[in-house]
Symmetry: D2
Subunit: 354 residues, 4 copies
């Protein structure tokens, strides 16, 4: 690769957009070509239009870019390009197809197309075979480009923490209770009066997404069609006063009962395909099995492996289903911006760009 | 009652001891006669010996009392009296029997005797019939007094939130994930460096207590013997940065499938016996069923009904077991000091004092 | 008083509006007659229109009231009435005069009219003589009613903590650094991502208000004209992750050097006029001088005396100015809703109603 | 340097000890040779003896080291070495001299010797000339080695934020109010019940240290004697629920009145000597002047430049003294472990080792 691949950030001023920009700052394959956002930001330098919420400042060359409209016509790029979408679902539904149609490889963090039967909902280590949907997507929709989505942040953690167990023991039931960080709600997101010193036992739409997306991700592809996995999910989500990091308390039921040791071994051995392991944003291990009886914890464990690893601890028998464990996922890295970038890397490696 | 019943506070300087003192400040039946604590406090006025952690200051007449030894001989009381114990388990194991032997009605918040077969583990609305163990206790142990215990704070919430459902539908399985407040660990308790902006997926001994005590409380008495309930409990506890209030996320399995409406009705109708309802510390309702989709929440709901009510919300079908719901209990009031006082009131009403 | 005085709440759905409703729930003199708010709430029952943020639920009879327009014509009240205003400043500027003109005694928490030369900025214990401005206000503006304002929440604390010192020693200079609670910003107010585990050294307009309002409140009235006090204020405000309670760190310079003991004595002796002391919402003491070296603290001290007392601790010499001390004010009670009600009570006691 | 300089960590298991170990993990000049701690850790592998509180795990080669006694005889090192001390003051007073006597260059974070007239209290960019005290120290005390100390964490921030202003305008008065992070109290440190959602207006001994140490650091050396600066400091410290990062709100008085612009220019131009600028841990700039009206903030700014830079914002006139500004220092990096390491680097560069 002599020249980096141009990337357009859709929804560049939000919290996930900012994470994308930070992660792409020194990316070996991609470089930010344009930043696009809603009307009130268009025409202003990014550094002014954006209330930057990450430590430090936006990269200088991005900060100076003028924000463009959410329209492929506004981008003056003459090479095949990637569009990373951090748009709200309602906006994504209209905007993302225009980019796909214009030839962009759209890697979306939005929920708008996650459940479309011809749109891969993708975690590279988990279901790279779902890219088989893309041919049908392009044919049916008449797009030169394509859309691939990454799952909801909690689902990303749950699926990475259970994929290896599903392969080895046949996952059938998941009772999930989550403790989710405030950054999952974007900005301004959760008012501090609601959450400081408090816990809120509900997040709109989240429990439904966890159930649906888990079945998609762990499903299989037959004749270019996605067959959802036969897994029942019962989810209770909670918002807690943690900045980053969703804690996932799971009880799991399987076809074949795993011992805690066998489960830990399966998780430790879990890794993506050789192609996936070679991607720039792939962590050295996708799951980190922890022995400490009080781990994982957001503050102590979250930043490891660039926030792309899922931590799993407290693996033990469940007296009701089969296995109990606790997972931890970095919701804005692996669960959002980092997930979208890893997807883009896989698409490039698999030859879907240009 | 022309004269109030004297009460001795064992472990008076700790957080539960302080709550006991505050709750007894204007109690219609009881008055604090003596405050006892460990050696390093003995001989000093209570206000000096104690690092008071509740709003305001200790009641003046208690603040001036000199702290005495944890020894019935140190109390110069000539009437039948109650000893409220907020001692650590290891100390309680030695001290509580000396008070029971000396004729005290010991109402203990400690875990030391909770699992003894002849010691009632008591929630007045739930299992007042377990007082039938007391006769055997006094005979076997040769005590003039007695020991009654109240359960662990999370268990109190779980059992109050499920007792009515157990009666109506036959509770068999409980998958519980808790979000527990820092005050549950006493003082100094959880270091702020461990919990500020964090969540910790473990509390020593807590998951075991929840399983064991739930089976005791929902068990029955046959021929002065406690038969544990046949209920399987799978618990995952978490510490979260909330000051007071344990949130309890439950999936429940029953003999007979309840509809959410039937479950809510059963919980709304739940109340103790007529005797229990007349106790001074009994709340107007023991369970508050909430309709708001994001309730209960510690900050908004905890202080209602003097912290003696358990809130239950989000009652809905569980696709794996039968029912999902979220409970909230005030861990230092209903789950500790208030629970001990309500037990004492029941014992007085049932004629166990003097 | 055989019948309670009717009260209209302007801006009833916001956080200060809610506090007003809670405080008036059992008020001996006032009763809520109508709740008014912006267009999007008008026509809906209050309980539906309002996102209630205080513990428990709104009083039933208020919850059932239909929200009316911010217009005196919308109120069908045939008796002299009070309008409590919790409106944003920009709205208050238009709406409050229409109520004053229609004969209402408007007690406003908004900043809109605080600096008008003929509008009293009032704390009953501090400057009841400023009511002398009202006659001119009514004459000049041709109003049957009137407007009285209470100061900004931090200023309320600073002035209550220093008034007695000003009287005794002549206050000339105030270096103030505040640690302010999130509830001061209303709802949704401060995004949790901004403040959880963080401190923000700025609040828009706050430092200017502290300086200006302090000079007004400690000023005097001559010939129905307010003469600002000759006091220089240097303020640095900070937002901190505390729910309620502004901590005020002050260095004070005086005409006559007070010893810490003399200062504490002056503060302890500080009380309003006999009239003020008899008002229903007046606390037994306006300033609580604390000896504990680590006091006052929001969590431990804020709820005392219904949140109407200002706590002062750590009184000691300042090696640069004269005196150092730390104040604590309940920003949404004494500093907002409670302050407005106390003002209304004084106006009634002084015969300004009807 | 062909071989790295051996370093012994005294008080290796505490929070500052852990920071030292993390910072030395890949240090170009130093390598950890031994870890020493109190009796209850001695003889155990460091990874077991220590409750590791930083993200990730201790470096493997350190985790495997057996903890030794706080005694130079326990170290089997045959080369000139550095001892980094993170000991409590009371222990440091006894232990540090034994290492200095045994030839070690002791770089101490403890307060034990900070005020000794022959012990440099050192910040390399601020007062490297104070190393002139060392000759006298070694002669008087008959030590082959030496002790150099770094200041208290708040003082470090205050002095770095004002040194350039002192040089340019002659600092005479400092009114300081701080908002200090919980990590400043070590581990277990501040109980969460004390600080969650709260602010505490006192930290034992802190205000005195700020005053004394500021005068030392900004003082001058004449004939190998330290002359304290003629600067009056009035400090009010507060503990706030922030994990890392002390916010410092300062009002400053000078001999010559600086304009805010001149002050900002002086701070931007501030840097250490050429020697200091070349040290491995020296940040590219020692002070970062920020323009944002709501900066600096712990969460957004603390991690910049490895936590070794002090941020300064909100520079403006003070109507009482001359200048107002807000500083932010990373209390466990620049204010503790990082400060000690930078001191060690300067000592090596100046030839004080071996």
């Amino acid at each position: 690769m002599t020249k980096k691949i141009p990337a357009v950030i859709l929804g560049a001023t939000g919290t996930v957009g900012q994470r994308l920009i930070r992660l792409l700052e020194e990316h070996p394959w991609f470089e930010i070509f344009a930043v696009a956002a809603s009307e009130r930001s268009v025409g202003r330098p990014y550094a002014e239009a954006c209330r930057w919420l990450l430590p430090g400042e936006p990269p200088k060359h991005v900060g100076e870019k003028v924000v463009i409209r959410l329209d492929p016509q506004a981008v003056s790029c003459d090479r095949p390009a990637i569009a990373f979408s951090a748009l709200p679902a309602a906006v994504a539904r209209d905007v993302e197809p225009t980019f796909a149609k214009a030839g962009y490889v759209v890697c979306s963090n939005a929920s708008a197309f996650r459940e479309e039967p011809d749109v891969p909902l993708l975690i590279p280590e988990v279901n790279p075979d779902h890219l088989a949907l893309l041919k049908r997507q392009q044919e049916t929709r008449g797009w030169d480009g394509l859309i691939v989505t990454n799952p909801n942040c909690s689902t990303t953690g749950i699926v990475l923490a259970t994929k290896a167990l599903d392969v080895a023991f046949g996952l059938r039931r998941v009772v999930a209770t989550t403790l989710q960080a405030i950054s999952g709600a974007g900005y301004p997101g959760v008012p501090s009066l609601d959450i400081l010193g408090n816990a809120i036992p509900w997040i709109p739409g989240e429990e439904e997404k966890i159930a649906t997306e888990t079945r998609c991700l762990l499903g299989r592809i037959e004749r270019e069609t996605r067959i959802e996995a036969d897994i029942t999910v019962s989810a209770q989500v909670n918002r807690v006063p943690v900045v980053d990091g969703h804690t996932l308390c799971l009880s799991l039921g399987f076809d074949r009962l795993p011992s805690p040791t066998a489960a830990a071994d399966a998780l430790r051995a879990f890794r993506g395909s050789e192609t996936v392991r070679g991607l720039p944003s792939a962590p050295p291990r996708s799951v980190h099995v922890m022995d400490g009886k009080d781990r994982p914890q957001p503050r102590l464990d979250l930043s490891e492996d660039s926030g792309m690893v899922v931590h799993v601890g407290r693996i033990r028998p469940c007296p009701i289903l089969d296995l109990r464990l606790v997972g931890l996922v970095h919701n804005t890295l692996r669960g959002a911006a980092g997930g979208a970038i890893l997807n883009a890397e896989l698409l490039v490696a698999e030859g879907w760009l240009g």
